[in-house]
């Protein structure tokens, strides 16, 4: 004992409030919609070793990546070389756990001469001289991915490092907005620093340090208690990233073996031992962070994130492979990391089908549009992540149209805001019927959005899961895959995966996002629920009959009981006969 657990909870409230305040400060002062509308950010407060004790993140995997990045930077800088008033910028992918543009800014927090913690803030910056404007899909070497800041002080003991800020100013295609967002990150860290210092003043440095330790010990106890209740075993699963970005025809395999014991969960990627030629390689920090996401969802989804939650988690990777990129391997589209959590749950689903959901639509389904505004001559850029269907689970249907598992806090962009800022019209935006996998419980449906360009533009499709279907559990149907339809000139239509596409005025691109996988036998689903889905227009009459064996009257949206019984019986007999073959 010895620790005052009630004081720890009071300090925790203070830390969580501090992290939330950092996020609000960031959103208010940030310059790009990707931060303040879409919430593509992660903020955290860390103990003096860099272990996160409170976070507030739009992108779930950023909490883990910030933890990794701060700790790695401490090694690079040397522990003694950080002073009060320093602010550090880190975007070297192999250290920061994310690609060049997801820049990590952090600051040490001092009480007197003693370092008591860190504040961190990561956002997607708009441009750091990566080889292409917006995004890079086909780099083969890190030198094409922008300029790196390998844990560099942009503030040195309170003084701005103008040399370094000028390097950014003269190396960015959008210097004002990039520096503006960087300043917003610095402000957020300053806010966090003040809050932690106030807590130190109020409770005493010793109590605060002890409380941070106990917050992590407590987080560990929560995770271990959950771990003990899980089925034990070892399971292997594989899934695919559409391509490496260079050879667009060949999918890249991701294979994982997950072992659950009473003491730990081991996520072993060592069977994924080859590097990719293109930028789908993942730095280890990101691989660890995505394993943390899957582990957190499985064990302690209801409590705040702490580094202690992840002490029972072990992640095994092979240096120089897809899951542990080393210099100079390209990492820009580290989408592999976004798909990884659901490869882990796919393995777990074999051993605990009642505890994990089927696969979601599977990707963050981003389309980045950009061009030069004909009226003002200014460059414009908008990125929209679209929602996907969630996987069904033992407790019910998957949700329709919500942000991918990796980015809970992210939001769609309002159409009216988008159309005011960019020469684009949205022709349609809504659910994509029949995209959810059928099952005893139905997978959620994805969405459909059509962009209509009013002047020449480029659309970068960032989606690496169009070739495989969202997997199901227990005999459910898979969800319908992501698809992107390009109509560069009216009348010409083709489906694309990750790609950069040019459009003249009048061109269109449609983002069709994936539905979640189904759970259990669709022919056991309550026919009344199928009829309700038909009435809502999320399942068609045809799909109801074909996939669920339910005949629905389109006048009254009631179940034709007799016809349904017959269809379901025929199907069951058919299965029996098939079984005899």
């Amino acid at each position: 004992m010895g620790v005052d657990t009630i004081e720890v909870e009071i300090i925790r409230q203070g830390l969580l409030a501090g992290a939330e305040e950092m996020a609000r400060s960031l959103c208010r002062t940030a310059y790009n919609t990707i931060v303040y509308e879409i919430h593509d950010y992660g903020v955290g407060l860390h103990d003096r070793d860099g272990s996160v004790v409170a976070d507030y993140s739009g992108v779930a995997s950023f909490a883990g990546a910030n933890d990794f990045g701060v700790k790695r930077a401490l090694v690079a800088l040397g522990r003694g070389n950080l002073h009060s008033g320093d602010v550090v910028l880190l975007n070297y992918p192999y250290w920061s756990g994310a690609h060049t543009l997801d820049a990590l800014v952090f600051a040490p927090v001092f009480a007197g001469v003693q370092r008591i913690g860190f504040c961190s803030c990561r956002v997607h910056l708009l441009d750091l001289k990566q080889k292409d404007p917006g995004y890079v899909l086909d780099s083969t070497d890190m030198s094409q991915e922008g300029i790196f800041f390998p844990a560099v002080k942009i503030y040195d003991q309170g003084r701005p490092n103008h040399d370094m800020l000028n390097v950014i100013r003269f190396n960015s295609r959008m210097p004002e907005r990039t520096l503006g967002d960087l300043h917003a990150q610095v402000s957020a860290c300053k806010t966090g620093e003040r809050r932690v210092q106030e807590l130190a003043q109020r409770f005493g440095v010793g109590s605060l340090v002890t409380a941070m330790k106990e917050i992590n010990d407590h987080g560990e106890r929560l995770a271990r208690a959950a771990l003990r209740r899980l089925p034990k075993g070892t399971w292997t699963a594989a899934d695919y990233v559409d391509s490496d970005g260079i050879d667009t025809e060949t999918p890249v395999k991701m294979e994982v073996t997950v072992t659950v014991t009473d003491e730990k969960m081991i996520v072993d990627w060592s069977k994924t031992d080859m590097p990719a030629r293109g930028p789908v390689n993942v730095p280890r920090g990101e691989t660890v962070a995505t394993a943390m996401l899957a582990f957190k969802a499985l064990t302690t989804p209801d409590s705040p994130v702490t580094a202690g939650n992840f002490r029972p988690l072990e992640v095994v990777t092979t240096p120089g492979s897809l899951m542990e990129a080393v210099p100079p391997m390209p990492t820009f589209t580290m989408w592999t990391g976004l798909l990884a959590p659901e490869v882990i749950t796919k393995a777990l689903a074999q051993g605990m089908p009642d505890l994990v959901p089927a696969c979601s639509g599977g990707d963050v389904c981003d389309i980045m549009t950009l061009g030069i505004d004909a009226a003002t001559g200014a460059p414009w850029l908008e990125a929209i992540n679209d929602a996907v269907g969630f996987g069904a689970h033992a407790g019910g249907d998957g949700e329709d149209g919500v942000m991918h598992v990796s980015e809970p806090g992210c939001r769609n962009s309002p159409i009216e805001v988008l159309e005011t800022k960019a020469p684009v019209l949205i022709d349609t935006y809504g659910y994509r019927p029949d995209s959810g996998g059928a099952g005893l419980y139905r997978g959620g449906v994805g969405v459909r959005r059509t962009y209509h360009f009013l002047s020449p533009a480029t659309a970068i499709v960032i989606n690496y899961k169009t070739k495989t279907q969202p997997w199901s559990i227990g005999g459910g149907n898979p969800g319908v895959s992501n698809a992107i339809l390009v109509e560069a000139v009216p009348g010409s239509e083709k489906y694309v995966g990750a790609s950069s596409n040019h459009f003249e005025a009048g061109g269109r691109i449609t983002n069709l996002t994936g539905g979640g996988g189904g759970w259990g036998d669709a022919f056991q689903r309550n026919p009344a629920r199928v009829a309700r889905d038909v009435e809502a227009g999320l399942v068609s009459k045809e799909s109801a009959e074909m996939d669920y064996g339910v005949v629905v009257d389109l006048e009254t949206y009631s179940v034709d009981e007799v016809a349904t019984a017959q269809v379901r019986l025929e199907r069951r007999l058919g299965k029996l006969l098939d079984g005899q073959d």
Partner: protein, 688 residues
């Protein structure tokens, strides 16, 4: 006395809450104000209002003024008890409302479900039409399809329909046409056009506001209509106002037209009371905390004014009409204490509510709550008068807390004291969110505490925030009702107007504002305010070009080039104050706003006499446990015994029929001329 009453010079306010209906009477001629309460009658809330009139012996015919706030609208939303509504959208955008912003507040819960929609997909109809952001028609409204949608509305028997088309804020013509078609073809249907409520962009938030309005409209129409009629039948000839979320009084007519403005009708009263109190007590800067059974509302008065926000969210559903900036957290007397799997004590956010209630209520609640913890610590006692007939049972409270303590491995009284501390910390966090986050320093404010449990935590919250003064007004439990007497009539108008300040046409800004003021003037005239009672406020939302978040700045009576320059520098100052930095970037206008105010007469706060005769005496003492093994003795006083100038020295507890106030050791309270208890809090000196 009787004669005066027949002249109708009594002003009365009624605040219908979830559990109690509070009533405040201001006898203008007698210069008296008194408070009372009756149980709320959920099946027919107006029955409770007339019961309240009887309780205070008032007849509608004697009233010159009746202000009314109610949680009816909010409850209809919380319980999903509104109408069967339909929604008509732009063709191709049926699901904007159901999709929402697609984020998931439960970050790691892959089984997440969105809040239950107020309108299911089968009642959402698309009509081909399209505007662009300039309000130019790209596709005319397809009237044939519109009529089909209207037929569906009729066939399904929907009583209320919301219409939200893309970019209708820039040109509402199509929404108006759609509304006309609906009203013509479905007599009696209630229609809400998004553009009549909001002239700002963001289609989901605007749709959500319109749907919510439509959802509660039949209920509120019926309620307000029936109340209005009952008042008239009882020969009420005074003025009747509803209190709106933005702190303005609304005539029954405008409340019925846009009931979405009544969502915060209840808590708004407390903030209005705080504004008036700030004026009377010459305390221009106040933090308010209103703590009841299930939640805590925190708000600010800055420079004598309440803060208004233009977007809020309830139950995860956004509302884009102006409302007082009230920050609500799940911390109240009913908040449940529990042990997590890691062996730490947690408080809330879920509440035992009024049923089963805290264990001490003895009506079935087994879980320990903040009320139980306060009882175990000794802040409350079985003798504490807790709103009427309710009596607290110490044994039940002790058992509930003791059961929890076993699992935590901590002594029961330490669990209770710890829970109180955690509640204080959460409350302080809510106050920080509205002060520090917005660039205000809590120590520049006084803390005004009311609601049944506000006084229980106020001094501790103040200490944590370095606030040196706590004020508990007389009748703290009914303070919201008192505040409702202060509501001026507001009409809020806004227009999205995106223009860079350096290039904008000052005359055009003036024209837009003048047009809005003309609308406001007409509305006030309809409400019965002559020119002498009309006030107009001009505001503009400004931002750095490229940023999203704007700051609202006051605009001069006439706009010329010089005023545009002044706006720019005023914006830079405000931005610096709120965000810590100003930039050289171009500044742009986003929205122009006009607030038309009809000024009502405010009652003076009656004075409490100074003491004559015997000195103030305590009515007893209580043993209080404050943690770390220490018990202390607190003197107990009755609020009704206090006289102006009296001093109460902590440790002390002041019991009122509506709530309990705690002064800890070193705190010292002085009774002001309005009967308010002004407490100077020890250990919370300025700037430390």
């Amino acid at each position: 006395m009787l004669d005066r009453r027949l002249q109708g010079d009594t002003r009365i306010a009624v605040d219908v809450g979830g559990t109690f209906t509070d009533v405040v009477v201001h006898d203008v001629a007698g210069r008296a104000v008194y408070f009372d309460k009756v149980p709320t009658t959920p099946d027919d809330p107006s029955a409770g209002i007339f019961a309240a009139f009887e309780r205070v012996d008032q007849k509608p015919a004697q009233m010159c003024y009746f202000a009314h706030g109610t949680t009816l609208a909010l409850n209809a939303l919380l319980t999903r008890g509104g109408a069967r509504v339909g929604l008509i959208t732009t063709g191709g955008f049926r699901d904007v409302y159901l999709l929402g912003r697609t984020d998931r507040p439960m970050a790691y819960d892959f089984r997440y479900r969105k809040p239950t929609s107020l309108v299911p997909r089968e009642r959402i109809f698309e009509v081909p039409e399209r505007m662009n952001y300039r309000g130019e028609v790209l596709l005319p409204l397809d009237e044939a399809v519109a009529r089909k949608a209207v037929n569906a509305v009729r066939t399904l028997g929907l009583t209320s329909v919301a219409v939200c088309f893309l970019h209708s804020y820039a040109n509402p013509a199509h929404e108006r046409l759609m509304g006309a078609i609906l009203e013509e073809a479905v007599p009696g249907v209630e229609v809400t056009l998004s553009s009549t409520l909001i002239r700002e962009y963001r289609e989901y938030e605007r749709t959500s506001t319109a749907v919510l309005d439509a959802y509660i409209k039949p209920l509120l129409q019926k309620y307000i209509g029936a109340l209005d009629e009952s008042l008239r039948r009882q020969r009420f000839t005074g003025r009747f106002f509803m209190v709106g979320s933005g702190g303005g009084a609304m005539t029954p007519r405008s409340a019925r037209e846009a009931p979405v403005n009544l969502i915060l009708s209840g808590p708004a009263g407390g903030v209005l009371g705080a504004v008036e109190f700030a004026r009377l007590a010459r305390e221009p800067n106040l933090i308010t905390i209103d703590m009841g059974g299930t939640s805590l509302d925190a708000s600010l008065v800055v420079g004598g004014e309440a803060l208004v926000q233009h977007e809020a969210s309830f139950e995860g559903l956004p509302i884009m009409v102006p409302s007082l900036e009230i920050h609500t957290i799940g911390a109240g007397g009913g908040s449940v204490l529990w042990a997590d799997a890691g062996g730490h004590l947690q408080v809330g956010p879920h509440s035992a509510g009024a049923r089963p209630g805290p264990a001490a209520y003895g009506i079935g609640g087994a879980e320990a709550t903040i009320t139980d913890a306060a009882l175990v610590c000794g802040y409350l006692s079985p003798e504490s008068a807790l709103a009427g007939t309710l009596r607290l049972d110490s044994d039940l409270a002790s058992t509930a807390v003791a059961n929890l303590a076993v699992g935590l491995g901590i002594d029961a009284q330490d669990v209770a004291a710890g829970a109180m501390q955690i509640a204080v910390t959460k409350t302080a966090g809510a106050v920080r969110a509205i002060t520090v986050d917005q660039g205000y320093t809590p120590s520049d404010f006084g803390l005004l505490a009311f609601g049944g449990a506000g006084g229980l935590v106020a001094t501790s919250v103040a200490r944590e925030l370095q606030v040196s003064r706590v004020i508990v007004p007389r009748g703290a439990g009914s303070f919201s009702a008192w505040g409702m007497l202060m509501a001026n009539v507001h009409h809020e108008l806004a227009q999205t107007f995106v223009a860079e300040l350096d290039r904008c046409d000052a005359e055009r800004i003036d024209r837009v504002l003048l047009a809005m003021e003309a609308d406001g003037r007409r509305a006030l005239k309809d409400d019965g305010f002559d020119e002498g009672k009309q006030r107009f406020l001009r505001l503009a939302d400004l931002r750095y070009k490229g940023q999203e978040h704007s700051v609202t700045i006051g605009v001069a009576r006439s706009v010329d080039k010089a005023e545009v320059l002044r706006l720019k520098s005023a914006f830079s100052r405000a931005h610096g104050q709120r965000y810590g930095h100003a930039l050289d970037d171009p500044v742009e206008i986003v929205t122009l706003r006009s607030r038309a105010v009809g000024v009502v007469e405010r009652p003076p706060m009656p004075k409490v006499p100074a003491r004559s005769g015997d000195a103030l005496a305590s009515i007893g003492a209580r043993r209080v446990y404050a943690g770390t093994g220490k018990w202390s003795t607190y003197g107990v006083y009755r609020y009704g015994d206090l006289r102006a100038g009296d001093v109460v020295v902590g440790p002390a507890i002041v019991d009122d029929t509506t709530g309990t106030t705690v002064l800890h050791s070193g705190d010292s309270g002085r009774v002001g001329t309005m009967g308010e208890l002004q407490i100077s809090v020890v250990g919370a000196s300025h700037g430390s």
